[in-house]
């Protein structure tokens, strides 16, 4: 090595080795020909190109030291300033009729800049020679650079990621855009990854040291948003194709064209009367600043026609805001993720095809956005039992119970760690968590995918409460719903999955949440304090009520009662006293949960599961 900072040795795991691998992998055409190495420097890959690819190496650079070194090793090198406008004719001249099979420009673009037109020259050469090109550039978004930049540091060095001579910096997106503007398109990729780059200094920086909470939080957010945090150099193989539009990002915010809210309505096409009620509720909204995506999930053709008819029936202003999106794969969460990708709204909310909303549902979210833009927007839902009826041969829905209020009026992150008190239609997600933070509904979860995303996103963007009651969660007493479709064991498994996920993450608690944690630990929750900070206690109370209700449902069910003689017999033989509802009232939350587990695991419950399946009620 010469001591020149650009005179680096060839290695299979550095940019040179990755380049050779790509050149071998993407051979568009075989046979004799030239490998053209632009900004060749010391011609490090020259010998390997000739020996392993069987191509004649031709290097071009302006640096005399590099030219001398390469020529001394017998490589064909030409001196030229690649920023000059005659570059294409210069290359044609040195090729002298020889065919170019492949091209490389390794860590050169950041010195030359894309404004020089060099990428256009490369694209033209690729096109006319049916060749491909390997491009490498340093990744300015490496986590060492971005973590320090976030805290106000930007350190130029003699070489490396922030080489003081760089005139242009690249992220993955900007490189794709700039190559695309020249008509070059990525077909292969072998990036060089380094957990600790040349910017990993000072080594005591809390944002860089991987033992700190700050570092793990930044890495978690970054890895969720974008996967190039450890990429030191992008190394891509590209071919020529049509040129894309300008690579410059339009800084004009596209928000103006967006509706405030995208409403995602999942349907399986089996609840047309309910879906029509949803549309009726939307037609009565006091704010029309929304669009609706009806996500038809695995809907049969005949049912899709009914869904489309229900959409078509709406008044024009509403009809024009509704799009039908067909989703024919995946589980419960899949249509939501598909919908997120098509959503145009600044916010996204899920309103399933069997719930209702009040007239100020959209308006309340909109008002909350003005108070805290970018946060999750939460309102309050009430719950009401409903059933299906057919009156005069027409199917309809009938409420059969008073509206109940099981959900806490304000959001507590701490309480939500224990149970979900936020039905999906009562929380709107900012599009940034999908677009910019890379979050999605977890499609591996068969239930509780909503709770999971609420927690993950609330931990980053916070929650703004409206406290207004704006929605009705319908509790289907005799029809199938996600509650009855999924066995309670499955629910518990998903709960555990959420717990595991959260236990592995650094959590950013919102302002004021420390008090809720303190109160829980000291047992002061519920013994005074203001309403907001008692929400943890409230949710705990709601959780207890939910557990008690579940026990009551089991004890009062026909299938449990029918087994009473068998249980009485077992008690005679030492099976313990019968469980009474009055005993449960004094139980702790854990004892209630444990009781439910025992009841559900009992012989009485298991042997009568067929009855519940047949009736679809418990």
């Amino acid at each position: 090595m010469s001591g020149n900072p650009y005179d680096n040795a060839y290695a299979v795991d550095n940019v040179y080795g990755h380049t050779i691998a790509l050149l071998k992998e993407y051979r568009i055409s075989d046979g004799d020909g030239v490998h053209l190495d632009l900004a060749a420097g010391f011609g490090v890959i020259g010998e390997v190109v000739q020996s392993e690819l069987g191509r004649q190496y031709v290097g071009v650079d302006l640096d005399s030291e590099g030219l001398r070194s390469a020529r001394a090793r017998g490589l064909e090198m030409h001196a030229h300033d690649l920023t000059l406008p005659d570059t294409f004719s210069f290359i044609e001249k040195i090729l002298a009729g020889r065919r170019v099979r492949s091209i490389s420009i390794l860590d050169g673009l950041e010195h030359i800049g894309t404004a020089s037109g060099l990428l256009d020259v490369i694209a033209q050469l690729c096109r006319s020679n049916d060749a491909h090109v390997v491009v490498s550039v340093p990744n300015v978004t490496h986590q060492d650079v971005t973590h320090k930049l976030l805290l106000g540091e930007w350190d130029y060095t003699a070489s490396g990621l922030l080489d003081a001579t760089h005139i242009e910096f690249f992220s993955e997106k900007s490189l794709v855009a700039k190559l695309g503007a020249a008509g070059l398109h990525r077909v292969g990729m072998q990036n060089v990854e380094l957990s600790q780059s040349d910017q990993h200094f000072p080594s005591t920086h809390p944002a860089l040291q991987d033992g700190t909470t700050l570092n793990s939080f930044l890495r978690y957010v970054r890895e969720s948003a974008e996967s190039n945090g450890r990429v030191n150099q992008f190394v891509w193989s590209c071919v020529a194709g049509p040129a894309q539009a300008s690579h410059l990002v339009d800084s004009t915010d596209v928000q103006d064209d967006r509706p405030f809210l995208t409403i995602l309505t999942r349907t399986q096409g089996r609840r047309i009367a309910e879906l029509r009620e949803v549309f009726n509720c939307l037609a009565g909204q006091t704010s029309d600043d929304f669009e609706v995506l009806v996500l038809g999930h695995k809907v049969l053709t005949a049912e899709q026609i009914q869904v489309e008819q229900a959409i078509e029936d709406n008044p024009r202003w509403l009809r024009e805001r509704i799009r039908y999106v067909k989703v024919d794969h995946g589980g419960r969460a899949t249509p939501l993720n598909v919908g997120m990708k098509s959503a145009r709204g600044r916010y996204v909310v899920v309103l399933d095809d069997d719930d209702n909303v009040f007239a100020h549902w959209v308006e309340a979210f909109l008002t909350s956005e003005r108070r805290k833009p970018g946060a999750l927007l939460r309102a309050v839902a009430t719950m009401q039992s409903v059933d299906r009826v057919t009156v005069r041969q027409v199917p309809g829905i009938r409420a059969i119970g008073s509206p109940k209020f099981p959900y806490a009026p304000s959001f507590s992150f701490t309480s939500h760690l224990v149970s979900n008190s936020t039905p999906l239609m009562s929380i709107a997600f900012p599009r940034g968590i999908f677009d910019d933070l890379g979050m999605t509904f977890d499609e591996t979860m068969t239930t509780t995918e909503d709770w999971d995303l609420i927690l993950r996103s609330a931990a980053i963007v916070g929650v703004e409460d409206s406290k207004k009651i704006t929605a009705i969660y319908h509790w289907w007493e005799t029809e199938e719903s996600s509650r009855t479709e999924h066995e309670s064991r499955e629910w518990r498994l998903n709960h555990l999955a959420i717990d595991r996920k959260l236990d592995a993450l650094p959590i950013l608690l919102p302002i004021g949440e420390a008090r809720a944690v303190r109160d829980l630990v000291t047992g002061r929750a519920g013994n005074g304090g203001d309403e907001d900070h008692n929400s943890a206690f409230q949710t705990n109370t709601h959780l207890r009520i939910g557990l008690l209700r579940r026990i009551a449902t089991i004890l009062e069910s026909r299938s449990w009662r029918i087994q009473a003689p068998m249980r009485a017999l077992s008690q005679l033989f030492g099976g313990g006293p019968a469980l009474r509802m009055s005993d449960c009232v004094t139980y702790s939350t854990d004892e209630l949960a444990s009781t439910i587990q025992k009841l559900e695991a009992s012989r009485s419950w298991r042997t009568t599961s067929w009855m519940r399946r047949a009736r679809r009620v418990q």
Partner: protein
């Protein structure tokens, strides 16, 4: 697709200082409803008749002309009463010009589901049915109904369809007795007294902007409290429940609540002036007064 006999429809709404935007939103849906109800037998275009009881006219010619252009399936008629008629008299005044087969009594701000009118018209195919009520969203009225026939004790006139002949035969609403509450209960009971059925059709939905307070309770205005209290007394009297009148009036008097005291005082004034309605249903065949002061059994508390 079954063939339906053509029936013309008038939608009647009494206005009182309503939000014009909300009326417009309701018209949008009504226009679509009218388009879709044609195959169900509704005559095109459908008439919409507004009677305005506001202190000043809510609508002007410009608005009406714009609506006429925008809602081609509706023929809109508007009259400013120049006085606060209340809902019962307001509807009767509008109905003086009624010349269609069916009349849809409706709050001006309810938003009909596209197929709601069709479902209501089909309910009236049964000649026994004299009044068909739509289901309100998002909070449904809790009164009980037969889950197969839809038969119920009474219908709210937030949105209810009535054959014109029956409406005329019954003399419309009892506007001498009721101002703005219980006029629909009384009318429904007279429909039943005439041997016809009142039915509830849950598939015919209308969205009615009713909200719950942050505490989850309905929050009636003091006017709503007063008129419903007054109407409760008047309804009990008219439907021959003097025992209830005595009980309710006693409760009102002992409550020391200003609104309730005013209601009982107005009742007394009418009684002494001989202005109470003649009593009907002396055998209590039709009128229903539940222990919780409802006019039908309720499925749940609201």
């Amino acid at each position: 697709m079954p063939e339906y006999a053509e029936q013309s429809v008038t939608v009647q709404c009494v206005l009182y200082n309503n939000d014009v935007g909300a009326i417009e939103r309701a018209l949008e849906s009504l226009n679509r409803c009218a388009e879709l109800a044609v195959p169900e037998g509704a005559v095109w275009p459908m008439q919409v008749a507004y009677g305005d009881a506001s202190p000043r006219p809510l609508l002007d010619t410009d608005v009406l002309e714009a609506w006429a252009e925008r809602f081609p399936s509706l023929r809109i008629r508007y009259e400013w009463f120049g006085r606060n008629t209340g809902s019962a008299l307001g509807h009767n005044l509008i109905a003086e010009h009624l010349d269609t087969d069916l009349v849809l009594i409706m709050n001006p701000d309810v938003v009909l589901a596209p197929r709601a009118l069709g479902f209501l018209i089909r309910s009236l195919d049964d000649p026994l049915v004299g009044m068909a009520e739509a289901k309100q969203l998002p909070i449904e009225h809790p009164k009980d109904y037969d889950p197969v026939t839809g038969e119920t004790m009474w219908a709210t006139t937030a949105c209810a369809l009535i054959p014109r002949d029956l409406f005329v035969e019954l003399g419309g609403f009892d506007s001498d007795t009721f101002f703005m509450y219980c006029d629909d209960v009384d009318f429904s009971w007279r429909v039943r007294l005439a041997g016809r059925l009142v039915v509830f059709q849950p598939a015919a939905t209308v969205f009615h902007d009713k909200r719950l307070g942050d505490d989850g309770q309905w929050q009636p205005t003091s006017a709503e409290q007063y008129y419903s209290a007054e109407a409760g007394l008047l309804l009990a009297h008219k439907w021959s429940r003097d025992d209830l009148v005595e009980k309710i009036a006693g409760y009102f008097r002992s409550s020391k609540d200003e609104t309730l005291l005013r209601a009982v005082a107005e009742y007394e004034r009418r009684r002494l002036a001989g202005l109470l309605a003649p009593q009907v249903d002396s055998d209590h065949v039709v009128g229903v007064f539940t222990p919780t002061n409802e006019y039908a059994k309720h499925r749940y508390l609201l």
